[in-house]
């Protein structure tokens, strides 16, 4: 499978609109970051893509077809934080039985990795702490080596060391399989080094979708005394604005096609914005 296309997908839970006409195309061979606040609709979108729940309207196309069959379904794995796994199943059995469904699953490697993370494979899933549970499901997800791996909050409850180990593992599997990995997470700065594509979701809508490079190139901080900053603000799309004691900082977006910026007045500083800053600015902007 090469592409997954989300077409006009909406999802309502009673009066709450979790997703509003979302359109998205996921291509093979990229690491995506699906970013958004709590309740933004990230998990709902992933559940719909993985056919766990149905959209209220719209559809998902897998290489152009609307449903997964026995072959194409082997190309998808969705790891989610909710308790949907058999609680009484032992960790090693969880690995073994998952391996029965995914032909490229490397059982020995999975068990070895779990050992390295300090997880007792004989424990039952309901005996694991939140952090260990997340490690188990993340390792199993990666070891399926499916064409499209969706990981919802893969580092939930992890300590910093284990998070780093997991990021290394994500990169290793990605290099080996050249598959697509979609990371849905709050830890934006941490995963920003892994990402190639960024999808920012807020209030059930995609508000930003671009390559990481594109996002970083087109967003920057402009700061200086308020008056000169105000004079040049019209040249950009202002995402966020902070004023303090006659000093103004703007987070701006410039068009990719825009001509090179003219020389800026003296006293104006331009600096690179971090992905997390951009994310926060967009979310605040949406709230307004």
């Amino acid at each position: 499978m090469q592409t997954i296309k989300v077409c006009d997908v909406s999802k309502n839970y009673g009066d709450v609109q979790a997703l509003q006409q979302v359109n998205l195309e996921l291509a093979r061979g990229k690491i995506y970051g699906l970013l958004g606040r709590n309740g933004a609709g990230k998990s709902t979108l992933l559940k719909i893509i993985a056919e766990r729940i149905k959209p209220s309207s719209g559809r998902v196309l897998y290489d152009g077809t609307p449903t997964l069959d026995d072959v194409t379904s082997r190309e998808i794995y969705f790891s989610e934080p909710e308790n949907t796994l058999p609680e009484m199943m032992k960790v090693k059995d969880f690995c073994y039985y998952t391996s029965q469904f995914y032909p490229r699953f490397n059982l020995d490697e999975a068990l070895q990795l779990l050992k390295e993370f300090g997880i007792n494979e004989k424990k039952r899933l309901n005996q694991l702490s939140t952090g260990y549970y997340a490690i188990v499901r993340s390792i199993v997800a990666l070891q399926t080596r499916a064409g499209f791996i969706f990981m919802d909050e893969p580092t939930l409850g992890h300590d910093a060391v284990n998070r780093e180990l997991l990021y290394d593992e994500i990169l290793r599997i990605y290099r080996e399989e050249q598959n697509t990995i979609v990371l849905s997470t709050h830890l934006i700065d941490e995963v920003s080094n892994l990402l190639e594509e960024v999808i920012l979701l807020d209030h059930g809508r995609i508000i930003l979708e671009d390559s990481l490079e594109g996002v970083m190139d087109t967003h920057s901080y402009i700061s200086g005394l308020s008056e000169p900053v105000r004079q040049i603000a019209g040249m950009y799309t202002v995402i966020d604005k902070k004023e303090d004691l006659g000093f103004t900082t703007l987070l701006v977006k410039k068009s990719k096609d825009a001509p090179a910026a003219p020389a800026l007045p003296s006293g104006i500083n331009v600096s690179q914005a971090g992905l997390q800053d951009i994310f926060i600015a967009y979310c605040k902007n949406q709230d307004k």
Partner: protein, 263 residues
């Protein structure tokens, strides 16, 4: 690199995973049953008179509970592994028949072994009552085969009743469950008590001590009819099985994973 190189068809993997706990189930189930029979032997050999009437009911309940309980966990795990609904449905059907075959064989062997021990030590032991043909009336291989077919038909039907009810229960919200289960429970309990009174206490259908005689009589009539001969029995079980599979499959079609809370 050790991988699942056999690359088995998904249906085979699904059935394999669904049947993963059979070993544990049979060991614990027949362990308890063996213990009960042993106690029966010991008590009776010691001069007592212990009978475990209706013990075969345990087998029915086991089949019913297996069907009822297997739905949610298996559905979630299959969904976790992206098994399409059509393949899941086939896997549930195959698993139901496999469970019926294995259980019927094991129960039949168990009953014959207990009957043989009973005759060897010349002591009466608890045995199948007349709701299904008595094992000790059907000796030899043909008797074993006949009982196997009877028990298989019954267990498969009961398993699929359980699975269908499990599926319906899963699809309903709390209000739907109340609306479904309260009348259903009343109907079943009323009919069950009436049937027991009719068969065990020989009470006339018009004199049954149940909340609704009118609702209990169809149960008795149906059981009377299906117990008339083997053909009626097999046909009824087969019809119930087909009905439950069709209703269960239709109910399952639109099922989504219901989420509780994150770990």
């Amino acid at each position: 690199m050790k991988t699942n190189r056999k690359n088995k068809p998904l249906l085979v993997s699904a059935v394999r995973v669904m049947t993963r706990d059979y070993g544990k189930f049979f060991i614990s189930f027949f362990g308890v049953m063996t213990a009960l029979y042993l106690i029966g032997f010991i008590v009776n050999l010691s001069g007592g008179n212990m009978k475990i009437g209706g013990i075969e009911g345990v087998y029915f309940i086991a089949c019913f509970v297996a069907g009822l309980a297997s739905f949610k966990e298996d559905f979630f795990f299959m969904a976790q592994n992206q098994v399409p609904k059509s393949t899941m449905t086939k896997a549930f059907i195959i698993e139901g028949f496999l469970f019926g075959i294995v259980t019927s064989f094991a129960v039949n062997v168990f009953a014959h072994v207990m009957a043989w021990i009973s005759s060897t030590i010349n002591h009466e032991i608890p045995r199948f009552i007349d709701l299904i043909p008595r094992v000790d009336d059907n000796g030899g291989l043909s008797g074993f085969g006949r009982n196997f077919v009877i028990i298989l038909s019954l267990y498969v039907a009961i398993y699929f009743i359980g699975l269908m009810l499990g599926t319906i229960n899963y699809r309903l919200n709390w209000l739907g469950r109340v609306i479904f289960w309260v009348p259903f429970g009343f109907l079943m309990l009323n009919g069950f008590i009436g049937t027991l009174q009719y068969y065990l206490d020989n009470i006339d259908p018009e004199e049954l001590e149940v909340l609704s005689v009118a609702l209990a009589k169809p149960f008795i009539n149906a059981i009377d009819w299906l117990m008339q001969n083997l053909g009626n029995f097999i046909i009824t079980c087969a019809a119930v099985t087909v009905f439950c599979i069709v209703v269960g499959a239709l109910t399952f079609r639109g099922a989504e994973v219901k989420y509780s809370k994150a770990k």
